[in-house]
Every structure is written in structure tokens, then in C-alpha cells.
């Protein structure tokens, strides 16, 4: 059973709504009974020990798990009132609306410009003016413009780790998704860059729903409005959502003993 603490409720037909969601990797039942509404234009963090299914759940939201053989789901996962797992739904279009940032910065081995222009080009934008404008705007939004403005032809891989991650964010911003999924975006970059990425998230939050998986409890407390705690209690059994609600309340007075054990560092 999940404990809810002032958990957000979306208007019907708005945002991401999940009901009794289960997930399997082949025979392995990874997640069970997840139900929640993700607050629109807020930051929600997913926390929990390694292997608790938080990343798996995150990747279900834009159907990245489709790329792995033999995965299947049950239950309901809605985006703006439409079941994203319904038959005939095109995961490719879904991913244009639900962007994703990964743990390891993964720019394409192309120039900075081509990296950012990748998404718009996929959508058929070909005019140089439009592309130039989008690239500049997106890089500015990602607070990277000042650093790379005069070297847009440089290979994206030549940037530092933190810059690469901001380049990946600019790349996503160039297609202006409604939802941004971030899978431990700060665990592979240096502390200064972490600060920049966190500032950026705060700036972006008013205009898009941000969901971040993190192992860093302080980070979750610092940046997220809502928090979801996942846990796999026994090896071999599926993980589930233990507690979900306003970040501050969960930190100050967790309802579930297991949540308290985790955030006070007793395991995980």
C-alpha cells in the first residue's frame, strides 16, 4: 500500500496519470501497483535504493523500455487523458512530447550545432533561419550559449562533462517537450556543473513537468516539490511505490517506517 501525503491530483485529462501500473522484464516482475498523478509544471523526484525500480518507472513514461526485448506492462499510464500504452500509439511521437536526460551525458558525435538542431530537423525544420534561432534560443535557455557561442562547429564530445549535460538539455529544449524526464542527471558531472543544472531545472519548472531520479537525498530535498519513494523489499519480488507526497512533509514526518529508515540512512 502506498502512503500519500498531500499528493497532487491532476484535473481529469491533464498531465500524467498512473493507475495500478505493473512492469516486467521478461519473466522478472520489476514493478507492481504504482498509482500516482505527477504534478504539472512542478519538479517531482523519485528516490529509493539501487534496483528499486525508480529508473525503470521513469523510462516507462516515454516508453524507452520498448527498446528492450521482452518487456511488458499492465495498468494505466495516461498523458493528457490518453493511454500511452494503448494499441496504435506511436512511441516516437510520444517521445517528442516527453523528453529525457540521461545519467551519462550522451551528446551525438557531431557538432554542437548539429546536436541541438537534431530534434527540429527530425520534425522537418529545414530553413537555416529557423534552425539558427532555435539553436541559439535553446543554448541560451540551457545557460550554455555564452560558453559555446563562437564554437558551434566544435564536436559536442569536446565539451567538459557538465557542459555536455547542459548541451543534452539544450538538445531537448529545442523540441520543447511538455514533460522532461531526468535519470540521475547530476551523478556523472562535477559539483559546479551540478549547481548549474539544478538552477536550470528551477528555471524550467514553471513551463514543463520535470521528473528527476536521484540518489542524492539533499538534491531531492533542495529542488523537488514532490517526492516519490520506491522500494523493493525482498529480492525477487517486484518493487513498488511506498510513499508519495510533498517533499518537505515526507522529510519532516514520513508516514511509512520504511521511508523513515531510508531517509535517515538506515539502509540503501
Amino acid at each position: 500500500m502506498t502512503a500519500y501525503r498531500d499528493a497532487p491530483m491532476n484535473e481529469p485529462g491533464q498531465g500524467i496519470h498512473v493507475e495500478d501500473f505493473d512492469f516486467w522484464y521478461g519473466d522478472f516482475h520489476a514493478l507492481t501497483g504504482v498509482s500516482l498523478d505527477l504534478a504539472q509544471n512542478k519538479i517531482t523526484s523519485f528516490i529509493g535504493p539501487s534496483g528499486c525500480g525508480k529508473s525503470t518507472f521513469l523510462r516507462c513514461i516515454n516508453r524507452m523500455n520498448d527498446l528492450i526485448d521482452g518487456t511488458r506492462t499492465s495498468g494505466l499510464m495516461e498523458l493528457d487523458g490518453h493511454d500511452i500504452y494503448a494499441e496504435g500509439v506511436d512511441p516516437v511521437d510520444l517521445r517528442r512530447r516527453v523528453g529525457m536526460i540521461f545519467q551519462q551525458p550522451n551528446p551525438f558525435p557531431k557538432s554542437i550545432y548539429d546536436n541541438v538542431a537534431f530534434g527540429p530537423r527530425l520534425q522537418g525544420v529545414t530553413a537555416k533561419d529557423d534552425l539558427d534561432a532555435i539553436v541559439e534560443e535553446s543554448l541560451k535557455r540551457a545557460n550554455l550559449w555564452k560558453e559555446v557561442a563562437n564554437q558551434l562547429n566544435k564536436n559536442g564530445l569536446a565539451l567538459s562533462g557538465g557542459q555536455q549535460q547542459r548541451l543534452c538539455i539544450a538538445r531537448v529544449l529545442a523540441v520543447q517537450p511538455d514533460v522532461l524526464l531526468m535519470d540521475e542527471p547530476c551523478s556523472a558531472i562535477d559539483p559546479t556543473s551540478v549547481q548549474k543544472v539544478e538552477d536550470l531545472m528551477a528555471e524550467l519548472a514553471p513551463e514543463m513537468t520535470i521528473i528527476i531520479v536521484t540518489h542524492n537525498m539533499q538534491q531531492a530535498a533542495r529542488i523537488s516539490d514532490y517526492m516519490a519513494f520506491f522500494l523493493q523489499e525482498h529480492a525477487g519480488e517486484p518493487a513498488t511505490l511506498i510513499e508519495y507526497g510533498v517533499t518537505g512533509e515526507i522529510f519532516s514526518a514520513p508516514q511509512d517506517q520504511r521511508t523513515e529508515d531510508y531517509i535517515t540512512g538506515r539502509f540503501g
Binding site: 524507452m64 526485448d69 529525457m100 550522451n106 534560443e137 535553446s138 528551477a202
Partner: protein, 676 residues
């Protein structure tokens, strides 16, 4: 150092003194108690540190020189091959003249030795086979790595790997008995010619190019693909816009190596190309190539004719060596790019550290006044709108992305299955026709009569004899050479030179290696047509292969394992012999077994070094006829196709067995490593 008092007083004093004498602060200052000690000085000894034992030192140095000598064998071999082939080809310069040598007419009986028609034949055959084989192979690789499910991919890529080991004489045999009649029906004629050779060679180079392209595709991090998918790219868009550009250099390498294989291929071409040394008239008329003409004429040629054959060998050698040069240039470009990328990263890092980060943080910190914040938000909203407006200018594609995607994925799927089907047909064909012949009498009996009825026992023994002998010569040298390259040598020009030699050696067309073996071992050393001559030539052929796999195996041993041994006070040789080589052993064994598989299937090298008479070899100086040559002669004369099918099947089974055994070894070691 916040608190100066906490530092040891003598060091601090030293720093002060240094600063007082005008030395730049931050210069390295040696603590005084170490200042007068240099390693290996008398003083070090007095202070209780033992000097290097002279005997140990001598032993380590001697071993290093031995390893270097082994590594240098590759360089010597390449030099010898080149020099000896040129030496034997000298009359081309002195008596035939370069002008005539690069003339059109090849008619040795009338004294004209022009090779241009043959050269054109080689180019025609190679170009056509590449045009057919390259798209198929790349499509197949893309299908296996990017599209196929894991299980399908595993099964098919195993099959492709195994087929890369099928000897060329079997492909030639397949072309001769199955493709040639089909093409004869289609074009009217005998069916010998460039078209048949294209098909056979295309089938042959597909496994090579597919395997190498798959390596290139696999080396691209998964994250890059995920990024593309998460941007809403379809599978085809991901392949076309991200994966293939990223793997470009690796694919170029694969194609160039495939080209080397096609141009140097002898037996398969010899059997289907028709062997008419004329300028090609049509793709279905008989032509001849450099390699096939050498193989054809070597047996009976003499004098100027033979010199001209060696001259053709030089031409082939130069072509294959320049292909290796191209590959190295391409891959160096890649390495340099990576290097500069790393240097760039370093620079960025330094700059970032140098820049006063607190200032930046302060300007971007959250301490914005409410009015500032409101303005920020407004700017942001405008930004979102602006990007969206520009995005809307995008035109929707003329053809739906899903249709394009489905079409392209289907094409790749077709390439994958087509390649697999062709390869399966070859195996099935040989197995179907060969099985009825299989019997103990066939395997252990002797050939009888003019039609070689009965068994093929002596040829099996000859094949295994020469292979074992070649490996006994090749393996120790190759392994020690690899130890030198991986453990002792400093990366630099010397190693680059040895690697270049090894790469060149591995690219020498087998018929050129055969020519060289004939000239040096059979004639100059006086070993005659014998197991020993053939084994020496084969050993040179296998040397770069075993060297490379061994070096990779040694490099795969993690560095911290070595550090562990060094930390316990082991000498370099102790580390290598007791830690590194044992850990690398399974992979080294895998490499050797694979090389054995190749040696068993080799034909052109042994054609003029071992002899062709059926004989049961006892001493290394006996001659014999290996299975591959037996198959070639039977198939070419068409006298006893039954025995030919049987020999082909047995040969293929032996090679598949070696390859499967190698796979078993490597999967076992992988499991062991995984279990730890």
C-alpha cells in the same frame, strides 16, 4: 594549507629558504632528507636500500631482447618477402622491360608478358564483388546490431563468424558446381567469367565485412542511440543520422579490408573466372586475374615467364600493402581526433578551474529580487514561445516517417536474412552432396586408380601434419612478440613500425606468400616441396593473426592485477609469466585455435610449397597433398565429383569444429570472468 604551524617545520623552512632565494613559489621543493639521494647511488645502498641485482638485471634485459627479436620477425618477414619477390622478378626490369610488362598481351609462349589485361581482370572482379557485397554486408551488420532481437542476432552472428572461416576453395567449389551452370543458362556460354566471380567473391567478403562493421557499430555507446530515440527519432532516423555517421571510419576500414581480401583471393577466383588472359569483353566472358594466373602458370613456367609471375607478385604485394597503408591512415585520423578531443577536455577542465567559479555562481545564484525574477520568467516564456514558433515552420515530410522507417527496416531485414540464407545454402549444398560419400573407408582409405576412388586418408594426414608443424613454429614466436608489444615496448615509432609490418604481413595475398615460400624455402633453402617448406610459409601467414589475438588477450588483463603483483615485489618477467600470461591464456588459446582453422583451409600458400603428389608424410621433408588441393584438383578435373563433395564436407566440418571449439574456449573464459 590553512595553518602553517601544522606543516613539518623542516619542509616549511625549506620553502621559506626557496622563496628567499628568489625561486618561484610552487616550484617542486624536495624535502631535505631526500635531497642528496638519487636512485641507485652508493648512498641509497648505505641507507639500506638494495641496488638492483646484476644477475636479475641481465636476465630481464636478455628476455626483453628475446621478445624484441620475436616481434622483429614480422618486420624481417615482410622485408624478405618484398626483397625476395623483387629479386626473382628482376628479369622483368632487365630483360622484359617495364614498358612491355605493363602492356596488354599476355602470351608467355610467344614471349609477350603484358599484365594489364590481368590487372584489369583483377580490378573488374574486385569492383563488382564489392558493389554486390558491401551493401549486403553493411545491411546485414546493421540488421544484426540495430534491429534483430538479441536471440536472432546471436545465432546469425555466430553463423557469420563461422562462415568467415570457411576456406576459399569451398566457396570456389560452390561457385563452380552450382553458380556456374545457373549463369551459363542465364547468359548462354560456359558460365565462366567475371559475373560468376563477382557472386562467389561477394559471398566470400560478406562475412568479413559484416563482422568488422558489427564491431564498429557495437563500439558506439548505447547512450547515443537512447538519446536519439528519446528525441523522437525513428529507428531508421537513428541509424541513418546518428549510428552510421558515428561508425563511418570503422566501416571504411571494414570495406578496405574486404577489398584486400577480394583482390588477393586466388582459389575461388581461379575456379570460376575462366582463366583467359584477355581484356574483359563482357561480364560473362572468361577473363583472368593476377592471382589466378600465378596459380595457374607457376607449375610449369620457367625463365622469363616465371620472372613475370614474380613481377605480378610484386604488383599484388604493393597493392595490398597500400591498402593497409590506407587503413592505417584512416584509423590514425580517428585516433588523433580522439586525442585532440581529450586534450581539448583537459584544457576545458583547466580553464574551468582557473576561472573563479564563485563569481559565476554569485551571478547565477537564486538571490534575485522579485522584480528580477518576474522579468526572468517573462523572458523564459518568450523563449518557449519563440522556439515553438520556429518549430512550427517545419514542413511535414513528403513521405510519412513511419513509412520510410518501415521500408528501410524491411530492407535491412532482407539484407540480413538474404546473407544468412546464401551462407546456409552453401553449407546445406555441401552437406547434402557430401553426406552419402561419408564412410570410415572414405576417411581412412587410400585413393585408388586414376580417378582417385576410395578414401582420402593421406590428404587428411598431410593437412593436419603441416598445420601442427606450422603452429609449432608460429605460436611461440607470435606469443613472445605479442608480449613484447603489449608489455615491454614503449608506444612509439618502433612499435608502430612493427605493427605496420604485422598488418602488411597479414594482408599479403596467400598466392604471393606461396610464391615467396617456393622461392625461399623450396629452392633457396633446398627444403624441396615438403611439409617443412609449406609449414614455414603457413607460419608466416598465421604469425600476424596469432600476434594480434595474443596482444589483445594480454591487453585485456586488467592493469590492477599487474599492479598487485608489482606491489609484492615481482620483476617484470615474473609478472608477465606468472600473472599476465596465465590470465590471458584462454583468449590466447582461442586465437591459436582460430588460426589452426585458417591454416587447415589454406590452399594457395601450400599449392607450390608442399607439392601435389598423394603421399603419407612421415618426416618434415616429405611432400604430400593436403585436402584443400585434393578438392581443387578433383573439382577442376571433374573426374570424381563424389570424392570432391566428400572432401569438401570433411574439410568444412573440421574447420567448423575448430571454430566452435574456439568459441567454446572464449565463452568458457568469459563465464569464468563473469563469475568472479
Amino acid at each position: 594549507m590553512d595553518d602553517p604551524a601544522s606543516a613539518p617545520p623542516n619542509v616549511l623552512e625549506d620553502v621559506r629558504r626557496a622563496q628567499g632565494t628568489g625561486r618561484v613559489p610552487g616550484d617542486l621543493v624536495k624535502p631535505p632528507h631526500l635531497q642528496d639521494i638519487s636512485p641507485n647511488s652508493r648512498k641509497a645502498y648505505k641507507r639500506g636500500l638494495k641496488l638492483v641485482d646484476r644477475r636479475t638485471y641481465a636476465k630481464e634485459r636478455a628476455l626483453e631482447w628475446l621478445f624484441f627479436a620475436c616481434a622483429f620477425v614480422a618486420v624481417v618477414a615482410v622485408f624478405l618477402i618484398f626483397a625476395f619477390t623483387i629479386y626473382r622478378a628482376a628479369p622483368v626490369l632487365t630483360e622484359i622491360g617495364l614498358g612491355e610488362f605493363f602492356g596488354l598481351d599476355w602470351a608467355p609462349s610467344e614471349g609477350s608478358y603484358g599484365i594489364v589485361a590481368l590487372l584489369l581482370g583483377s580490378l573488374l572482379v574486385t569492383a563488382g564483388s564489392l558493389a554486390l557485397g558491401v551493401p549486403l554486408a553493411i545491411g546485414c551488420a546493421v540488421y544484426l546490431v540495430e534491429i534483430a532481437s538479441k536471440r536472432v542476432s546471436r545465432v546469425v552472428s555466430t553463423a557469420v563468424d563461422l562462415l568467415a572461416g570457411v576456406p576459399s576453395v569451398i566457396f570456389g567449389f560452390f561457385g563452380l558446381v552450382l553458380l556456374r551452370p545457373l549463369i551459363a543458362d542465364l547468359t548462354g556460354g560456359m558460365g565462366f567469367g567475371a559475373l560468376t566471380a563477382w557472386l562467389v567473391l561477394a559471398i566470400m567478403i560478406v562475412p568479413t565485412i559484416t563482422t568488422l562493421t558489427m564491431d564498429a557499430l557495437r563500439s558506439i555507446p548505447m547512450g547515443v542511440r537512447e538519446a536519439s530515440y528519446s528525441m523522437g527519432a525513428t529507428k531508421w532516423q537513428t541509424i541513418y543520422k546518428v549510428v552510421l555517421p558515428a561508425a563511418k571510419l570503422g566501416i571504411v576500414n571494414a570495406v578496405v579490408l574486404g577489398m584486400g581480401r577480394a583482390i588477393g583471393e586466388t582459389m575461388a577466383v581461379l575456379m570460376v573466372v575462366g582463366n583467359a588472359p584477355v581484356v574483359p569483353e563482357s561480364i560473362s566472358s572468361p577473363v583472368s586475374t593476377l592471382t589466378s594466373q600465378i596459380a595457374l602458370d607457376m607449375g610449369y613456367s620457367s625463365g622469363l615467364h616465371r620472372a613475370a609471375l614474380f613481377g605480378m607478385g610484386v604488383v599484388l604485394f604493393v597493392i595490398s600493402a597500400s591498402l593497409v597503408g590506407i587503413v592505417r591512415l584512416v584509423s590514425r585520423e580517428r585516433e588523433e581526433r580522439v586525442d585532440s578531443r581529450e586534450a581539448e577536455r583537459e584544457r576545458e577542465k583547466r580553464e574551468r578551474l582557473a576561472k573563479a567559479t564563485p563569481v559565476e555562481l554569485a551571478t547565477e545564484g537564486p538571490d534575485l529580487s522579485p522584480s528580477q525574477l518576474a522579468r526572468e520568467v517573462e523572458i523564459q516564456e518568450n523563449s518557449r514561445k519563440r522556439i515553438k514558433r520556429h518549430l512550427q515552420n517545419g514542413s511535414s515530410a513528403k513521405v510519412s516517417k513511419n513509412v520510410t522507417n518501415a521500408t528501410m527496416v524491411a530492407i535491412f531485414k532482407f539484407a540480413g536474412w538474404f546473407a544468412t540464407a546464401v551462407l546456409a545454402i552453401i553449407i546445406a549444398f555441401v552437406a547434402w552432396n557430401g553426406l552419402p560419400v561419408m564412410s570410415l573407408d572414405f576417411i581412412f582409405g587410400w585413393p585408388e586408380g586414376v580417378n582417385a576412388e576410395g578414401g582420402i586418408f593421406p590428404t587428411i594426414v598431410s593437412s593436419l601434419y603441416v598445420t601442427v608443424l606450422a603452429m609449432l613454429i608460429c605460436a611461440p614466436i607470435a606469443i613472445l612478440a605479442a608480449v613484447y608489444l603489449a608489455e615491454y615496448a614503449k608506444q612509439g615509432r618502433r612499435v608502430a613500425f612493427i605493427r605496420y609490418a604485422a598488418d602488411t604481413l597479414s594482408s599479403v595475398p596467400s598466392i604471393v606468400m606461396g610464391l615467396f615460400g617456393f622461392a625461399l624455402f623450396v629452392e633457396a633453402f633446398g627444403f624441396g616441396l615438403s611439409m617443412l617448406s609449406a609449414a614455414l610459409a603457413l607460419a608466416l601467414m598465421m604469425l600476424p593473426i596469432v600476434m594480434r589475438t595474443t596482444e589483445e588477450a594480454i591487453r585485456a588483463v586488467p592493469r590492477y592485477i599487474r599492479w598487485g603483483a608489482y606491489g609484492l615485489g615481482a620483476t617484470k618477467w615474473q609478472v608477465v609469466s606468472r600473472v599476465v600470461l596465465p590470465s590471458a591464456f584462454p583468449r590466447i588459446a582461442t586465437g591459436i585455435v582460430l588460426a589452426i582453422g585458417r591454416a587447415v583451409g589454406e590452399t594457395a600458400v601450400v599449392l607450390y610449397t608442399m607439392g601435389q603428389a598423394i603421399n603419407l608424410p612421415v618426416t618434415p621433408l616429405d611432400s604430400g597433398r593436403p585436402m584443400t588441393i585434393h578438392l581443387y584438383l578433383l573439382a577442376n578435373d571433374g573426374i570424381n565429383m563424389q570424392a570432391a563433395y566428400g572432401t569438401a564436407l570433411l574439410l568444412m566440418l573440421m574447420i567448423l569444429a575448430f571454430n566452435l571449439f574456439a568459441r567454446y574456449l572464449s565463452s568458457k573464459s568469459a563465464r569464468k570472468a563473469g563469475g568472479k
